[in-house]
């Protein structure tokens, strides 16, 4: 069953085009990732789906309700965690949670089982003011507050931005447990490595969707061979490779360079070219593509 249905949505802020014809469907009970760099339009799409913004063109439904006409119904059924920490910093952890439970006509006790795993980690600090929590704890509180009324869909706008690696992993584990409770999750992130943890992902760039598929599907669609080039002289080698006519694309990826060759080009030929250009000891190997490779490839097209 489709829980979120976005059909050809456009949104401009004055002359800035935020969304240019976005269409996507999110099925019930899946974790759907919206992957893209800053300024791609992720937050705008979230705001439209959470009824904070109205689209200029196109339409969208959430749980069958139109985001413009039936906004009141949607607000009762969704949980939203904005990218920026938006709880009351001068209220305590417990007071924030109580407030958001009561506003939805619920109580902490009623849905405690849902938030138990995360909330237990911040419970020792429940009388501390929210403003004095660390980044990871703030994020856990925000998730608890977004969940406490047992929403059917959870909108998480860049929930792991600015959070340490351990907390990020815990957070994703948490999302998988929530999915088992039947909660549909739409999550956005600028981190490509988190894409693999989603059931399906949409790659978004400059207000347009580049691809929608499962993470495996996206990677499989990458048909060209991919080489990892390892060297001590990253910058100079990068420049040398960019000059070569048989290199389709090359970009730095962590401490290696990822290279897509044009057809009829071999690693041996490349190795010779680099040796002749004065770069000995360069290691070249064939590797499987990652989401980021696909993203770079799709962006270049």
């Amino acid at each position: 069953m489709t829980t979120i249905d976005v059909r050809d949505v456009y949104k401009n802020y004055g002359k800035t085009r935020a969304l240019e014809g976005i269409s996507l469907r999110v099925e019930e009970g899946e974790i759907f990732g919206l992957i893209g760099p800053d300024g791609a339009g992720k937050t705008t799409l979230f705001r439209i789906l959470t009824t904070l913004l109205t689209p200029d063109k196109g339409s969208a439904t959430v749980l069958g309700y139109d985001v413009v006409k039936d906004f009141k119904a949607i607000r009762k059924l969704v949980g939203y965690m904005p990218g920026r920490f938006s709880l009351y910093q001068d209220l305590t952890v417990l007071e924030n949670l109580q407030f958001f439970a009561q506003v939805f006509g619920s109580t902490i006790e009623e849905n405690y089982y849902l938030i138990k795993d995360i909330y237990q980690q911040i419970e020792p600090f429940k009388h501390r003011r929210a403003g004095q929590l660390s980044g990871g704890m703030k994020q856990k509180l925000a998730l608890s507050c977004a969940l406490i009324h047992k929403p059917r869909i959870l909108f998480l706008d860049e929930p792991t931005t600015g959070v340490d690696a351990v907390s990020r992993k815990e957070f994703w584990d948490m999302l998988h447990r929530l999915r088992k409770e039947g909660i549909t999750i739409l999550v956005s992130t600028p981190y490509m490595d988190e894409a693999g943890k989603c059931d399906r992902i949409a790659l978004i760039q400059k207000g347009r969707l580049l691809a929608i598929d499962t993470p495996a599907g996206i990677v499989n669609a990458f048909e060209k061979p991919l080489w990892a080039v390892q060297t001590d002289q990253m910058h100079l080698v990068l420049q040398a490779l960019r000059r070569h006519a048989n290199v389709a694309s090359v970009f730095p990826f962590g401490d290696v360079l990822h290279l897509t060759p044009k057809s009829d080009f071999t690693t041996g030929e490349l190795s010779n070219y680099l040796l002749n250009s004065g770069f000995p000891g360069v290691d070249i190997s064939l590797i499987p593509a990652t989401i980021e490779d696909c993203f770079m490839e799709l962006m270049a097209e």
Partner: protein, 375 residues
């Protein structure tokens, strides 16, 4: 109803949490009340006077003494040099120059008319006007004395009819106590401004911090949000009125002739309009800084056109109309009338009706302007 109670609970909790808030709500208004009531006096005393005496006679000296015997004038220069006298006015040594012409005494003794010249520095209109009026009354009283002394000698019969004297009785403020007049008015202004600014800042702050975005995706309705903001600040306003009245009674012993219930009842409907203005400001402002400046704009107009310092009756007609939508103007008048004059509902019902129209009107406007969606 339940949601409104939750919102009020949250709001009051935040007020208590804010360490600066309690002093802002209690100490600051009292300090302002004391300072303003003592300092902002309309009475003019110690007007600097330069006397240019070209007559050098008994009468001219008597005139000088008459001026100085009142509290109102202080002699700055006594000369017969017109230029020196004029110079004192130029360089702000004196506020008024009295010129006594040669032959002043002789003319009076002969029963002829004589003239004095009074030059007043009117840069400060109030002071200038009062200096002129005081001088006039001093000269009148000398003239009255002199006419009784001179007439029997020269004419042998009372040629001048007994002058009509006017005696004053100042109702509702018999001693012309300035504080009695100012404290109720200033209190009205303080309560209004404080709550207006608090409301405006509070909503804008929620926008700045982003909490409003979180609230907007909840089922809280617009009217619930507005009422949830209104009521806590209404309580705060009434609380401030109560401590202000207590301070006024204890420190200035202001009279409280009328019903305090009436004062509080009016305060409630007045605050509804005031808070609505604060909300309207918040809908127009993106940041607290902007809200501050917009509030300041309204605050200045509201205060200066409230009749607190200058009577509304003496404003130009267009300005008098502008005081109708000014909540402070109504509040100041009601405070004075009820407390000093003991007015009942009948006497101030026009203010009640105006506010009963204005309040809901502004609230409706504020609800309409407040949008849950951004842009």
């Amino acid at each position: 109803m339940r949601i409104i109670l939750i919102l009020i609970w949250k709001e009051l909790l935040q007020v208590v949490r804010n360490r600066a808030m309690i002093p802002i709500l209690t100490v600051i208004p009292i300090v302002q009340l004391i300072l303003l009531s003592f300092a902002a006096t309309n009475e003019v005393k110690k007007i600097g006077l330069a006397v240019c005496d070209n007559d050098h006679s008994t009468f001219s000296r008597r005139l000088r003494e008459q001026f100085l015997s009142s509290d109102y004038f202080v002699l700055k220069l006594y000369t017969d040099d017109e230029k020196a006298a004029a110079a004192t006015l130029e360089d702000d040594q004196a506020d008024a120059v009295l010129a006594i012409p040669p032959g002043f005494e002789r003319q009076l003794l002969r029963g002829q008319a004589s003239s004095l010249q009074l030059q007043v520095n009117a840069i400060n209109g109030v002071k200038g006007g009062l200096a002129g009026a005081y001088a006039g009354s001093v000269i009148q009283s000398l003239r009255r004395d002199l006419s009784l002394e001179i007439v029997p000698v020269v004419r042998q019969k009372p040629a001048v009819a007994a002058p009509i004297s006017v005696s004053y009785r100042h109702w509702y403020n018999p001693e012309l106590e300035y504080q009695t007049f100012m404290v109720p008015g200033i209190l009205g202004v303080l309560v209004t401004i404080l709550t207006m600014m608090l409301t405006a800042m509070n909503i804008v702050r929620e926008r700045e911090i982003g909490t409003i975005e979180q609230l907007n995706v909840t089922p809280i309705r617009k009217y619930q949000f507005i009422i949830g903001k209104l009521l806590p600040f209404l309580f705060i306003g009434l609380f401030d009125l109560a401590i202000g009245l207590t301070a006024g009674k204890l420190i200035f012993d202001i009279p409280m002739l009328g019903s305090l219930w009436l004062v509080f009842a009016f305060c409630v409907i007045n605050l509804i309009a005031t808070l609505a203005v604060g909300m309207l400001i918040s809908t127009a402002a993106e940041t607290q800084q902007q809200a501050m400046f917009i509030s300041w704009f309204f605050m200045m107009i509201f205060i200066l056109m409230s009749g607190l310092f200058t009577p509304i009756d003496s404003m130009p007609l267009w300005a008098q109309y502008l005081t109708i939508p000014n909540p402070i103007a109504h509040f100041v008048d009601v405070m004075r009338k009820v407390l000093l004059k003991g007015s009942g509902f009948e006497d101030i019902k026009d203010h009640f009706y105006t506010m009963l129209v204005l309040g809901p009107l502004l609230i409706t406007l504020a609800i309409w302007r407040y949008r849950k969606t951004i842009a």
